[in-house]
């Protein structure tokens, strides 16, 4: 009896915590229906609800372009990163390099993921211009890949290292070649880590702002630069920005929810092993 009561209490607590935590999302939804005057009053719900913000977003041809560009960039970035990351992660795990080399490699991979983009924006701009890729989605893809390939490699390296060696040995004894063991044994076991890499890469690329803004002109915007365009020197057009932000959220949320069953397990990344 006591157990059921505490369980119910815990349940209530959970619901409360979750609702409070995602309150800003309710704000976002509410803001997208507010007219400009509503932002001066303290009420949570719009006092003059309007669909004008959504009209503005969907009537603007740029929105379609932004959606297309963002989809292109994120899809290519994610696929290429996970592909190359998995291949190189496996190679690094199985090449039998000395621990010092591996440590150095890991350091370099983390370095590339975590250094300030601002340092590389201008040289990258020049590079893209010289390669004739400036102001195309491909430039943004390359910019993102520079961050995500090292990151994905690191994730998969840990994943492959975390795989029990016995299965691999058994496969070898059974006569399977290395590529065979890779495709049929290692890959399936690392699937959830691949899912993690895919989600983290996709989220990073979808929301990335600095590189996208620096490498494109107004003819090839992506969604995150679109959100920033509502910031004018006179103020912020919150209603339209909220509407666009909602539109941006939906695809990536759907993707993350679909993948979440897989990648939650992969998040461990070998941090704890029995």
């Amino acid at each position: 009896m006591r157990k059921r009561f505490t369980a119910a209490l815990m349940g209530l607590l959970i619901v409360a915590v979750v609702l409070v935590w995602i309150l800003p999302f309710f704000e976002l939804i509410s803001a997208s229906f507010k007219s400009p005057a509503d932002f001066f009053s303290a009420s949570f719900l719009p006092e003059h609800p309007t669909l004008a913000n959504f009209d503005e977003i969907f009537a603007d041809p740029k929105t379609g372009i932004m959606l297309r560009n963002s989809l292109i960039v994120v899809t290519i970035t994610t696929i290429v990163s996970v592909l190359l990351g998995t291949l190189s992660g496996y190679a690094l795990a199985r090449l039998g390099l000395s621990p010092w080399v591996i440590g150095g490699v890991v350091f370099v991979l983390l370095f590339f993921r975590f250094y300030p983009r601002i340092a590389m924006v201008i040289p990258f701009f020049v590079m893209m211009r010289d390669w004739g890729l400036f102001d195309t989605p491909v430039a943004v893809v390359l910019g993102h890949l520079s961050i995500t390939i090292p990151f994905a490699t690191w994730l998969m390296l840990i994943a492959f290292r975390g795989l029990p060696a016995e299965i691999d040995e058994a496969g070898a004894i059974d006569g399977a070649s290395l590529p065979g063991r890779f495709f049929h044994l290692a890959l399936p076991m690392a699937a959830s880590s691949m899912a993690t890499a895919a989600v983290l890469t996709a989220v990073l690329s979808w929301n990335e702002f600095l590189i996208a803004q620096s490498l494109t002109r107004s003819s090839n915007p992506v969604l995150s630069t679109g959100v920033a365009s509502f910031i004018t020197d006179a103020g912020v057009k919150y209603g339209s920005m909220a509407a666009l932000s909602l539109v941006i959220c939906i695809p990536i949320v759907v993707f993350a929810l679909v993948m979440q069953r897989h990648y939650v397990a992969g998040m461990t990344m070998g941090a704890v092993k029995g």
Partner: protein, 312 residues
């Protein structure tokens, strides 16, 4: 087999064994090459370029070409700028407080939501939302919420009788606001990693402890916590580095203001490089930033090795 998340440990067995033959090694190198080429093309050139630039003189007052070599002058310029040091301090405060808060809340949430029931799984899924929303969008919503007159934060506070501060116009509270937004967005990440780690803890150990008569809290502390150190190390590394890197929140919420109160290192670098177009000073500043990043990564390597040695 204990695996280090930072992979500095010795592999169980050298791979120069019957498992890897010549054609196998060829296959492995073939797997490695595409990524290697990509990284060299995309990362090495800009980084080298930035490094060389940091030793030359180039800012907008010159021509389209960088000027001559000036040795360490750019680094000296950045290091002697009091704004740089202020920004370093602010970044440190934001990162340390933020990460500590995220660790605490994240672990608490992970413990709260650890069961496999539908409610818990849904809660974990829903809590992922703050992580996937664009930082620019999230920061703008919070900017609305922090409005001292019409924002929901102060409205809620006054409902329970507290007069909220002028969040974004106050030197102290603006920093708190940034920490709040950072925590709101990234605690779910911490929660996910920790809860995955918790799920991997063999239940027998926990049950054995409670059979022994240890209370819930004691069990947690002495049995589960030590097994989570690996996950903690990963989370702290990631969050510290990401928190230092983030620009969108500061840019959107406060623009470093009021005054220089919420000026962070990345905002400093941004203003230097992309507003004032002092390219070489910005390159030098980025390398100084990277020194801090390196120190953190190395510290995490050490911590990780120590924790592994402790649990093995």
């Amino acid at each position: 087999m204990t695996t280090s998340l930072l992979v500095t440990g010795r592999p169980r067995r050298r791979a120069a064994s019957p498992l890897t033959t010549r054609p196998d090694r060829f296959f492995l190198w073939a797997c490695l090459t595409p990524a290697l080429l990509a990284v060299i093309a995309l990362q090495l050139y800009p980084l080298l370029n930035a490094s060389v630039l940091s030793f030359r003189e180039w800012s907008l007052t010159e021509s389209t070409d960088p000027g001559g070599f000036v040795g360490w002058a750019n680094y000296a310029q950045v290091l002697s700028d009091p704004v740089f040091w202020g920004a370093a301090r602010t970044s440190l405060v934001i990162t340390v407080c933020g990460v500590a808060l995220q660790l605490l809340l994240g672990t608490g949430l992970a413990a709260l939501l650890r069961k496999g029931r539908a409610l818990h799984r849904t809660a974990r899924a829903v809590l992922m939302l703050p992580m996937v929303i664009a930082p620019v969008a999230a920061a703008n919503i919070w900017r609305l919420m922090f409005n001292s007159r019409s924002g929901s934060v102060n409205t809620t506070l006054s409902a329970i009788g507290i007069t909220g501060p002028e969040w974004l116009a106050d030197p102290f509270w603006s920093v708190v606001a940034i920490i709040i937004v950072d925590t709101w967005q990234w605690t779910p990440f911490v929660m996910l990693v920790i809860s995955s780690a918790m799920l991997s803890i063999p239940q027998e150990l926990v049950e054995a402890a409670s059979v022994d008569g240890a209370g819930r809290w004691r069990t947690f502390r002495s049995v589960e916590l030590p097994m989570l150190t690996g996950a903690f190390a990963l989370v702290v590394t990631f969050r510290s580095l990401d928190s230092l890197l983030q620009l969108d929140t500061v840019y959107t919420l406060t623009q470093g203001g009021p005054g220089y109160s919420s000026y962070t290192l990345t905002y400093y670098l941004y203003a230097l490089g992309l507003r004032n177009f002092e390219i070489s000073a910005s390159a030098a500043g980025s390398w100084l930033f990277m020194i801090i990043v390196t120190v953190i990564i190395v510290m995490m390597f050490r911590l990780d090795r120590a924790s592994r040695e402790a649990t093995s």
